[in-house]
Amino acid sequence: MGKPFFEITNLSIRFGGLLALDNFSMTLDSGAIHALIGPNGAGKSTVFNCISRFYDPSMGDIFFEGKSILAHPPHAISTLGIARTFQNIELFASMTVLENVLVGMMPKVPRYLGFVPGLRRNSIEHHAVERAEALLERSGLADFRNIPAAELDFGRQKTLDVIRALASEPKLLVMDEPAAGLRNREIAALDKLLVDLVKSEGVTILLVEHVMQLVMSVADKITVLNQGVKIAEGSPAQVKTDPAVIQAYLGKGAHA
């Protein structure tokens, strides 16, 4: 079978006196959509911040395509092929939509001497802009290319966040609550987008989400975290009826 596409093994991290993650392990299969759920404060964002290398775990390891990513600094992660979207849509607020996409594309744009004119420089820029425009075209944001990201409405900002992440042509897309704040129609569109991404681009998706409607519909496998510990894992049908999961949510239940 070979090495798993993405694997977290025995990850533990401590903040002061608090053990935010306790021996957490998880495996992702290539080409699947995997959801990480759990009540607030369970540690889901902590997992993501470890993947992004913003945090250093006290114990454990994270493997991507067989190699540990813990040896890498945060800015090397996207070059490895992992891209991320953020919970509170952190975009480059003062930069335009097109520029945001160009920055997302950064790992794929070759370096050149920034202030010296030249043919190679011109052609690199030209190609980058072309590809960015194509991405904007496909996602319906082309009309907004010169608008500063901060001035877009919420739904479009979310779209831009995804496009920015996709611009680096990642193999693994890590999404932090992509459905937060979206209306039903937009959630359905997001659902379709995620499935499309896997089918046509071969992207593997790991998402943290609270909106159960999306999770149940789109996920191939779900992992449930509660207070830093994995309490359940399986298909949506399995997880939905798992007593430990229902207990963790304290009977609030999932709004399906």
């Binding site: 090397a76 992660i77 480059f92 097109l98 520029e99 004119p117 690199i124 802009v129 779209t159 680096s168």
Partner: protein, 326 residues
């Protein structure tokens, strides 16, 4: 922020460059002096803007590199007879190197500590300029002798003008290319959000150090231009007052934009002259006026004059919000 610099955009620079050679022929020497000073401030201000306005790093070491560039160029000429055309690049590169050295520890710090550490460095350099008398002439200053530029002798405002103009145009062109480059985008991304920039593959620390270095090089070039415009260098010129002056220029004009910075430079270089002719005892009012300008600008025009103007112009361009999304 992307693409190439078009000939249409370079055209004003070419016009200025030509002007550099023809204007001195029929202009009063005093105005040429003002022009030389203005062009020096332009390079200095653009350098500071690259660091503060583009890369978002609030650092105060700029005047240290300004002084370093000036003293190096002047001393290379005085002690070793090295002509300007060689001395200036050496001074600029030295300033850049010191800038990088300072940046390496400084960029590890959080914003406020970065500001204080670079402020401390600048004041430390000021102390060096003031105390190292055998080399810098100390507080009594250093007499600058006329320099040799590509054969002809630059000894007064008339001969300095085309040289200053050429340098300024060169540095503006470099800034234009930089702003439309991958590196320029990296800097702006860092300013807007460091951790998103990191997850997009940008090595934030490395880019910050580069921004510092580039900014220091600009300050070094401005320091070299100082030796063309003035005949006397004293540490006072490279102290906190100048730092505030340059900061005011970019704040009033518009941080982060080339036209904005140029507007700020224009207004604030000319201000002392205007005030001198209207108010007899300007010297006493100088600080108060600068302080008020800074406060009022930041209160009512935080994006500067250029920011306010372009803000009004852009309002026409928003596409209909009803256009379909996904």
């Amino acid at each position: 922020m992307y693409g190439s610099v078009s000939l249409r955009q370079l055209f004003p620079l070419l016009a200025l460059l030509l002007g550099g050679f023809f204007i001195p022929m029929f202009t009063n020497e005093y105005y040429l002096y003002l022009g030389n000073v203005l062009m020096m401030y332009a390079v200095l201000a653009i350098g500071l803007d690259i660091l503060m306005g583009w890369a978002g790093q609030f650092a105060f070491a700029h005047t240290a590199f300004f002084g370093l560039g000036c003293y190096t160029t002047a001393l290379l000429n005085i002690k070793f007879g090295i002509p300007f055309i060689v001395g200036m690049p050496i001074a600029a590169l030295l300033a850049g190197a010191v800038g990088v050295l300072v940046a390496i520890p400084a960029t590890r710090m959080r914003d406020i500590y970065l500001a204080l550490a670079t402020f401390a460095f600048a004041e430390g350099m000021f102390w060096v300029f003031n105390t190292w008398e055998p080399v810098t002439g100390g507080s009594t200053g250093l007499r600058i002798i006329s320099s040799n530029v590509l054969g002809f002798k630059v000894s007064n405002d008339v001969t300095a003008f085309p040289v200053s103009m050429s340098l300024m145009c060169l540095m503006i062109a470099a800034a234009m290319y930089l702003s439309k480059s991958r590196l320029g985008r990296e800097m702006s991304a860092i300013r807007d959000s460091e951790h998103v920039a990191m997850s997009c593959g940008i090595d934030v620390r490395r880019t910050k150090v580069i921004a510092f270095g580039i900014s220091a090089i600009y300050a070094g070039v401005a320091g070299a231009m100082f030796t063309l415009a003035q005949s006397f260098a004293s540490p006072e010129q490279f102290g906190f007052n100048t730092a505030i002056l340059v900061l005011t220029m970019i704040v009033v004009g518009g941080m982060g934009t080339l036209p904005g910075v140029m507007i700020g430079v224009l207004i604030l270089s000319m201000l002392p002259e205007v005030l001198r002719t209207t108010m007899r005892s300007f010297q006493i009012w100088q600080e108060l006026v600068y302080g008020l300008i800074l406060i009022l600008s930041i209160m009512f025009m935080p994006r500067g004059i250029w920011g306010s103007i372009s803000g009004h112009l852009k309002k026409r361009e928003l596409p209909s919000k009803n256009a379909k999304s996904i």
